[in-house]
């Protein structure tokens, strides 16, 4: 734990002692906010909360955590299980709401003005049993990054289907490999982790193979279209994608892409700003589009990501914490995030905002991608989601690694999931 956090706790203890002695005419709370931190997240966060601090007189300390969502989840679960009062607000992943719902405060009443301005699907993803568990602060949806210069050079169009992508990637790779042996057609996230659930859900859904577990709780993953989707992806490993893609997470894929060694990449919006940075070899050379589909007539699918803010029910400063949550989810902060970090807003009107259109033109363009977003089955599988996801990405990983056919692995997965479901998800 950081020294800043510890110092904060000490300060809070000291403050409480002082207040106990002299009485508390004006309650100034010190609020602790925990979040995964990448890049300049800590500095940016300070500017986001400054206006709220000035207005309310409270202070906010951010407790930074590792970037990996899986690592964060385990830690938060421990804190919440122990009923820790040290943390007032948690920045939560879009998929956590059902698993942590009982530990957070209902924000429906506090956010009643905000809710109508948001995309309904996002609010829905954070609502569990009628309780609004967390407020969205930004959303995330991946897209297909492509090298404009290379598509022109080899005379291929932006691919619409996965087959077109495969052919285009192969053609470009064959040409480029002559001068650059490290060049690859397509990079994505194939490591056995939550990210592979996202990637594979996109393939399966865009082939018309369903969403693993449907909204009503039915296990739908064992079908021919899903198997075909996975076999297609398996065909990429070692041909248009390096064999090592099976150990790639987002940053490894971006590493290959940003050094100019890939024609296509599947990644989240954050890679756009970084790819356009001064130190990037692909600056100004790439575009983004929606992810391909299985065949003409199927619809493109991008997995819904995104982050939210939730208030711990163990917090001793709930009123201030709820007020901060509403501020962080509000239009002012969302706009700052969009301009600073290319984070996609969850408030509909911000996609028509003139400043954002001028300074971060990619965000309005991304609206189409985001509107196609598919939620992971965290809502129907409730507390079992992490395990469902792990079983899914393991089955996919086995298939991609060549251990068993897609059909066999999906049949096995179906049996496992049925077992896990028992007489109903709970």
């Amino acid at each position: 734990m950081s020294n800043g956090y510890r110092a904060g706790v000490m300060r809070r203890a000291a403050l409480t002692a002082v207040l106990a002695v002299f009485g508390a005419p004006v309650m100034a709370d010190e609020i602790f906010y925990v979040s995964g931190a990448v890049g300049a997240a800590v500095e940016n966060f300070k500017t986001y909360v400054k206006p709220w601090e000035d207005k309310t007189g409270n202070t906010v300390t951010m407790v930074p955590m590792p970037a990996s969502t899986t690592d964060q989840f385990a830690q938060y679960r421990l804190w919440l299980a122990a009923g820790s009062t040290d943390i007032d607000l948690y920045q939560t992943d879009v998929i956590w709401a059902p698993q942590l719902a009982s530990q957070f405060v209902d924000l429906t009443a506090a956010a009643k003005d905000l809710i109508p301005t948001e995309f309904p699907s996002i609010i829905e993803s954070q609502t569990v049993g009628g309780k609004l568990v967390a407020l969205p602060i930004f959303t995330d949806a991946p897209a297909l990054y492509y090298r404009k210069d290379l598509l022109d050079k080899y005379g291929v169009a932006v691919p619409k289907t996965w087959d077109e992508l495969t052919a285009a990637a192969q053609k470009i790779q064959d040409g480029e490999k002559a001068t650059n042996p490290d060049f690859w057609g397509f990079v994505w996230q194939g490591n056995a982790y939550e990210g592979l659930t996202c990637d594979a859900l996109e393939w399966v859904k865009s082939f018309g193979g369903g969403q693993i577990v449907e909204a009503d709780g039915t296990i739908s993953i064992n079908n021919e279209k899903a198997a075909k989707a996975l076999e297609t992806a398996k065909g990429w490993v070692g041909t248009i994608s390096p064999e090592g893609v099976l150990a790639y997470q987002e940053e490894e894929a971006r590493g290959v892409w940003q050094t100019g060694n890939a024609a296509f990449m599947r990644n989240w919006p954050y890679a756009y700003g970084l790819g356009d940075g001064a130190d990037s070899k692909v600056k100004g050379l790439f575009g983004v589009t929606t992810l391909p589909v299985g065949a003409e007539g199927d619809s493109s699918a991008a997995t819904l990501g995104g982050w939210n803010v939730a208030v711990s029910k163990y917090s001793k400063h709930q009123e201030a914490a709820v007020s901060l949550a509403v501020w962080l989810a509000g239009p002012e902060v969302q706009k700052m995030r969009a301009l600073n970090e290319t984070n996609l807003p969850t408030i509909q009107s911000l996609y028509d905002d003139a400043d954002i259109a001028a300074k971060a033109p990619i965000i309005p363009q991304w609206k189409a991608v985001f509107l196609n977003a598919v939620p992971r089955p965290s809502a129907p599988t409730l507390t079992k989601y992490s395990e469902v996801s792990a079983k899914f990405f393991n089955a996919v990983h086995e298939t991609l690694a060549g251990n068993g056919s897609a059909a066999d692995n999906l049949a096995g997965l179906e049996a496992d999931l049925t077992d896990l479901k028992g007489d109903g998800w709970k």
Partner: protein, 322 residues
């Protein structure tokens, strides 16, 4: 550390021996209490959890379910029965196999390499002090840091290992070390051996330095060849030290977590007992199930070490053989 000072025994008081024992008890008491709090209590609590249906959302409301987390019979609606629980879970046995395989190979290789390094370091040469200090560096780096460092070095596209091997023409294409299920375990083993050989070397070296020099002198005068000297003289003499080192390493290797977790998260080819139990405890909503796996891990560790001590007739008291 100094021994407790005791007063001269008086005629009617306890004997010096008794006084010493009593003093020793009070000196040890804080240690025993601390050990109970940080070792025994969590262990007992975990074992207790493993017999309940506790979940992370409700840590204090678990009901006693006997051995259900270990093994139970599930009656399916069709009338068929099925074994459930950790002991019937193929994922658990896969983890056990991975762990045992890892422990066996890593400890064996580390012992051999460690002994080799120790023999070299035991020889007199210039700069020996510096070399001894330098060789400890891998052991001194926190595992999480060295695992991350190796993860980049083993990276298939921009990792230096592949570049070196390619330039030496030992391989003809870049190998995806951590991604390929065939090489994932090898990658974990390489890093572990790199990291832990210095530790083994140090313990072996300590053993070597206990061996009296005049024995070698005598062997040399008798004209015995060095290989024979090693197997007939050195090895038997340092065996107790090596045996203790092997126990330490085995305990360590059987509970390996950090390296695997960083290098190959959630890969079936390398997932160990610690990794799978942590996953059930904190990531999945199976707290009690994970506690049962932790308990089994503890039991397996205890069995392995007892077997080793018994079969190898290892003397841990430091008093025997004299």
């Amino acid at each position: 550390m100094t021994s407790p000072t005791t007063r001269v025994a008086q005629d009617h008081g306890p004997s010096l021996q008794q006084q010493r024992q009593r003093a020793a008890f009070w000196f040890l008491a804080p240690m025993v209490v601390a050990l109970f709090c940080v070792a025994a209590w969590p262990l007992l609590r975990t074992i207790w959890f493993s017999f309940t249906d506790t979940s992370m959302d409700n840590l204090y409301g678990g009901k006693w379910v006997w051995f259900d987390n270990y093994l139970r019979i599930q009656h399916l609606p069709s009338g068929a029965i099925r074994w459930k629980g950790t002991l019937a879970d193929p994922a658990w046995w896969n983890a056990v196999w991975n762990t045992v395989r890892f422990a066996f190979v890593s400890v064996t290789l580390e012992t051999i390499f460690g002994l080799g390094v120790a023999l070299v370091l035991n020889a007199e040469f210039r700069g020996r002090g510096i070399v001894r200090a330098a060789i400890l560096i891998p052991w001194a780096i926190p595992t999480i840091v060295s695992a991350k460092m190796w993860a980049w070095m083993l990276n298939d596209q921009y990792g230096i290992i592949n570049v070196i091997l390619l330039n030496l023409h030992l391989i003809d294409h870049k190998i995806a070390w951590t991604a390929n299920t065939d090489t994932a375990m090898a990658a974990v083993l390489i890093v572990d051996i790199w990291k832990t050989t210095p530790f083994m070397a140090l313990l072996c070296l300590a053993g070597l330095q206990m061996v009296p020099r005049d024995i070698y002198e005598a062997a040399r005068l008798d004209g015995i060849n060095p290989v024979k000297v090693f197997f007939k003289l050195t090895l038997p003499l340092i065996r107790p030290a090596v045996a203790v080192a092997v126990i330490f390493r085995m305990l360590d290797a059987l509970r390996i977590f950090d390296l695997v977790y960083v290098l190959t998260p959630d890969s079936k080819a390398t997932k160990t007992m610690s990794v799978i139990s942590r996953q059930n405890l904190f990531e999945y909503n199976n707290f009690a199930y994970g506690a049962a796996q932790s308990t089994l891990l503890f039991a397996i560790l205890a069995i392995f070490v007892s077997l080793y001590i018994w079969l190898g007739k290892v003397d841990l008291t430091g008093e025997g053989g004299k």
